[in-house]
Amino acid sequence: MPPQRSGVAVTETEAESATATSAQEVRPRSKLASTGEVIGLYAICLFGALAIAAALVEFASDKGSWTTVYTVILDGAVRKPGRWGLTLGVAAPILLVALGTTVSGRAGLVNIGQEGQLVIGAAFTAYVGTRIGGPGPLALVISLAMGVVGGAIWAGIAGALRFWRNVPEVLTTLLMGTVAANLVGWGLRHRSLLLAPPEGRANRNQVSQPFAADRHIPRVTLFGNDFPISILLAILLAIVVWLVLGRTVVGFRLRMLGRNARTAQRAGVDQKRYGIGAMLVSGGFAGLAGGVMLAGGDFGPYQLVADFGAGIGFAGLLAALVARQRALVIIFVAFLFAGLRTGSGFLRATGVSARIADVVQGTLVLAMLLPPAILYLRARRRAIAATSSRT
């Protein structure tokens, strides 16, 4: 079969497995009823997830009830003065990481090393941003670009190994996360790499030199809240990713690769090129997130420290999973997760461990995995029943 221009020859439903398509045909139900069913299923799962977290607060700790936890988190995330600005600042890197995850995930690749890619990106940004001269804004853009390059290199290694030697990218990205953290920790011990000059820091403090004031990401003040403009950039990029994945040939090919690699190959999609490309983009986004964290000001005083990632990479990955890799939904999930993070900062006063935010995040993701899986299985069971009753 000669390679054809995709988009003409194969439609997306055809690229899916044939059985899944027939499952939709045989379903003898009204659209409204099935939509109601889907919404109900999601609601039950969501409720279950929150109930588990609430039960944990009620029964496993004697410090507070779930209602106080709820109010306190809401206070810390949006209601108290200056808090929603902080939430926006935290949401920016989460959103960026999640967007990258979407690109690679749609191409059928499982990149779970965002935390490492983010840290490498931050390190590249810190190295370049404290060393080059030139006007502040230009230096900021260049150093952020270097962050993108750093993250892309880190993910690109995994992508290259995947398509060159067939090494599972799940494991390489995961393992390289630890490598990245150690590498940056090592860099922070050497003056020639990342460590700040001895004046202006405590003797054994392993931190990088802070960014000069003219290289910070500009902040906007609105109704008493201030936030870096990086969140606007991130939202813009979310729209771009949505458009590229949903409305362009490149995006179509990526999705086809993810749905059914064999069909994609037959339709003339270069698996290597698109696969490695998706990994590079994914890592680049994570690297940019690292740079934005460093230059944005919501994560410490504009300098790199050990453990700089602070779980943002994982939060972004989970956000992409909850949103089922839809770029526009991710925006809201990123805000939700950022709110959980900033809100849980207020929990210390109540004595409830702030880790409850992680629990809520985790149960939410698990709950969001359930409905599509149940629906898919049911559709398949019906399809099998339909075919066997025909024969």
Binding site: L171, T178, V179, A354, G362
Partner: protein
């Protein structure tokens, strides 16, 4: 140069090097010997980390109420609970196994962190038990046979796993579904059920491993106790080329490296930055996977969900 060799001699005749190496190896062995079975059946079980952590926490809580044996039992149950979620979500509902595993790791870390923050379990260390005669062997004797008795559980465990996988009908079926699930399905094996069973086994063994590590290491539970050892155990399985022998070798190698990280600075040598030693297992695994990826044959259906009627 002679300096270098005397340093090497210094390091490798140090008894605590071997003691630490064995302690680190055994926790990997507990986890990896279960993982090898799961991977033979076709699952890359990322939630190993969560199983170990849950086991360690349950052991910390359980020993206060029911002693060390009770703690280990609770550890097995805790590992089994995590395994239940992983197995049923990925091999009953056919959700993506990596996603489920990763989320479980984050979730269990969160839950355990929350519980420890609310009420911290008391610490308890298990005393060393000396095995007569064997413990007198110089250098490695004390490391292998003068340890907390919980460690000795691993000695029968590994042969038992070997017997289970290579000498029983169940083991044959497990290996078959990892190689060709469709053919196995047609032959009447319940592919997903068997896969779930292997994950349950992994969960129990890894949970006990977590409990062991708690008792052998510090006795004090912290949520950073496992600290990525689950991932290293997965790496050991891959490093070992999906054979039990290779996996044991991988665990020993990574355990030794982990122990060197502790021993070299404590002897006053600073030739190698500890950061590089800490990342060594991961780098070695990636290099090994790259070199052997084409030669070592992984289970053919590894990481592919089985849904009847879909290739």
């Amino acid at each position: 140069m002679s300096n270098f060799f005397s340093a090497l001699g210094d390091i490798f005749t140090n008894e605590s090097l071997y003691r630490n190496a064995i302690i680190a190896t055994v926790v990997l062995l507990f986890a990896a010997s279960g993982e090898v079975v799961a991977e033979k059946a076709g699952t890359i079980n990322i939630s190993l980390e969560a199983m170990m952590l849950a086991g360690a926490y349950a052991a910390a809580v359980g020993q206060g109420r029911a002693g060390v044996w009770g703690g280990l039992g609770m550890a097995a149950i805790a590992g089994l609970v995590v395994a239940g979620v992983q197995a049923n979500m990925s091999h009953r509902l056919s959700a993506d196994q990596f996603v489920v595993g990763l989320v479980l790791n984050v979730l269990v870390l969160g839950i355990v962190g929350f519980l420890v923050g609310s009420n911290e379990p008391a610490s308890h260390i298990v005393e060393r038990t000396k095995v007569p005669v064997l413990a007198e062997v110089p250098l490695i004797g004390p490391a292998l046979f003068d340890q907390p008795w919980v460690l000795y559980l691993v000695y029968p465990l590994v042969p038992a796993i070997w017997f289970l996988v290579y000498r029983t009908r169940w083991g044959l079926e497990v290996r078959a579904i990892g190689e060709d699930p469709n053919a196995s399905d047609v032959s009447g094996l319940s592919v997903n059920k068997l896969r779930r069973q292997t994950i349950y086994l992994t969960g129990m063994v890894a949970g006990v491993g977590g409990g062991y590590f708690l008792y052998a290491r510090s006795g004090r539970f912290e949520d950073s106790l496992i600290g990525g050892r689950g991932y290293i155990a997965i790496a050991a399985v891959i490093f070992g080329g999906w054979t039990l022998k290779g996996t044991v070798a991988g665990c020993v190698a990574f355990g030794l490296v982990g122990s060197l990280v502790l021993t070299i600075p404590s002897l006053g040598y600073q030739a190698i930055d500890p950061a590089f030693l800490a990342m060594a297992p991961n780098v070695v695994t990636i290099v090994a996977m790259t070199m052997f990826a084409k030669r070592v044959r992984q289970p053919a259906a590894l990481a592919r969900p089985f849904i009847r009627g879909l290739k």
